[in-house]
């Protein structure tokens, strides 16, 4: 086996060559047909390996699903009908009643009661930043999953408290708690306009995770000057 050759291929593909090395390698490729043919195969093998391992789980899931559907399709002659006896209905009904009682007993406030994120409006008229526009539109349409990567891209270049705040809200909506709380904590320890809002959202994050005690503790740190203090009072009352 031509070991040197494969090590060279890999270095080239990983971008580890100097400019001169690259140029000389590319020149060789254009002149040596056998080398370039083998290089193509090398790249193809890399692709197949990626496909093989990257989609391994998905492929197994697909095969399992396919087999189930296929078996069902080809064996439709054995339908399974389970007869339900009257007392089964009684049992089922009582289980439902029990469930209802169980849930009604714990009448805690929920995240959904307080979940009304304000619309983002950081794009000014004539603003040409396409990613920013896209992020705002996605956020305001409630497509938080799409908005998250857009915010991340924007934050790489332009880290403002405003963008950070909406990024955090989007993360919270998608239940990415550790990430969301990291963002809110950073804003909370800062001095921006979003300091209090971030703290409020930090409390909401705890609420969403049903960590009522932590939620309460955070709420108590918010000053009464906060613009939406009514919400905080209401939530504190419900938590008691």
């Amino acid at each position: 086996m031509n070991e040197e050759r494969y090590i060279l291929f890999d270095q080239y593909l990983q971008g580890e060559m100097t400019v001169e090395e690259r140029n000389s390698f590319e020149k060789q490729l254009s002149e040596d047909h056998e080398l370039s043919s083998e290089f193509e195969t090398f790249k193809e093998v890399q692709l197949r390996l990626t496909a093989k391992f990257e989609f391994e789980e998905e492929r197994e899931a697909f095969k399992a699903n396919l087999t189930a559907i296929s078996d069902k399709h080809f064996n439709t002659s054995t339908p399974k009908v389970v007869l339900m006896r009257p007392w089964y209905y009684a049992a089922a009904a009582s289980i439902i009643v029990l469930f209802g009682l169980f849930f009604f007993d714990y009448n805690n406030p929920t995240f959904a009661d307080y979940d009304n994120p304000e619309p983002a409006s950081f794009v000014e008229r004539g603003d040409t930043n396409a990613t920013l526009k896209e992020a705002q539109a996605a956020f305001n349409d409630g497509k938080y999953k799409e908005a998250i990567p857009l915010f991340e891209e924007i934050l790489k270049e332009n880290k403002t408290p405003e963008i950070q705040y909406f990024y955090g809200v989007a993360l919270l909506e998608e239940s990415k708690y550790p990430k969301a709380e990291a963002v809110f904590n950073e804003l909370k320890s800062g001095t921006s306009l979003y300091k209090e809002k971030a703290t409020w959202n930090l409390a909401l994050s705890k609420l969403k995770q049903k960590k009522y005690k932590e939620c309460k503790e955070i709420l108590q740190t918010i000053s009464q000057d906060y613009e939406n203090y009514d919400d905080i009072e209401r939530l504190l009352d419900e938590l008691d």
Binding site: M1, N2, E3, R5, Y6, I7, F9, D10, S37, E38, T41, F42, E44, V45, Q46, L47, R48, L49, T50, A51, K52, F53, E54, F55, E58, R59, A61, F62, K63, N65, L66, T67, I69, S70, H73, F74
Partner: protein, 218 residues
């Protein structure tokens, strides 16, 4: 049985006429049936069920009319579905003709090939070339080539030693080669070199098989 075969032929001819028409209207236009391909790639149960309901009965009929039974048909369909999944995942499958004809012909050719393997009866499978339009035929050739290459790759991968297989699996499922080195408790330089050589070994075997094939064809 004769009637069914006749019906098939009429269908194909009709289809090829229709397809030729759309072929001239837009040469590389992706057919709306691409949704079946996307559905397979996304493991969408509703789409898979629709394929079984709408397109599989025809395949079953064909296999049963050509020395096969229901189980044979089930296997052929399943193999083609997995092949389509793989090709869709590799992003190299863009439907330019109706799924119906494409799927049926793939299954048909697969079954005829199976028959050819087990019996000595001469089976001609090039008859389709006469009745199919160019873009559909190209698509089927592409898929069959993809399958052939995949099988060659799979065979060669299994020929690799356990260590190579393990290293490659780790390399392609771990973010960085530094992490791979840490997991295997060896140096970075070693894993990098070893990985190049394992990929190289696969490359060499596949290249040899390719060269052999082109020799045989010339």
């Amino acid at each position: 049985m004769l009637i069914v075969t006749l019906l098939c032929e009429i269908y194909l001819q009709l289809f090829s006429k229709l397809a030729t028409k759309s072929f001239f209207m837009g040469q590389t236009k992706i057919h709306p049936d691409q949704m079946y391909i996307e559905g397979l790639a996304a493991n969408d149960s509703a789409i898979i069920q629709t394929i079984y309901k709408k397109f599989v009965p025809k395949v079953v009929m064909f296999v049963m009319n050509n020395s096969g039974d229901k189980e044979h048909a089930q296997d052929v369909v399943q193999e083609i579905m997995i092949l389509l999944f793989n090709q869709a995942k590799a992003n190299t499958l863009q439907l330019t003709c109706p799924f119906d004809a494409y799927f049926f012909l793939l299954c048909k050719r697969k079954w005829l090939n199976e028959l050819k393997k087990t019996s000595n009866k001469g089976v001609t499978i090039n008859e389709d070339a006469l009745s199919m339009n160019e873009s559909a035929l190209k698509l089927i050739t592409n898929t069959e080539e993809f399958d052939e290459k995949q099988q060659l790759f799979d065979t060669m991968f299994l020929k690799l030693g356990d260590k190579c297989q393990e290293l490659l699996k780790l390399s392609f499922t771990t973010k960085t080669m530094e992490e791979v080195a840490a997991k295997l408790n060896v140096t970075y330089g070693y894993v990098r070199k070893k990985k190049s050589l394992c990929v190289g070994q696969l490359t060499q075997w596949i290249q040899e098989a390719k060269n052999f094939k082109s020799l045989k064809n010339n």
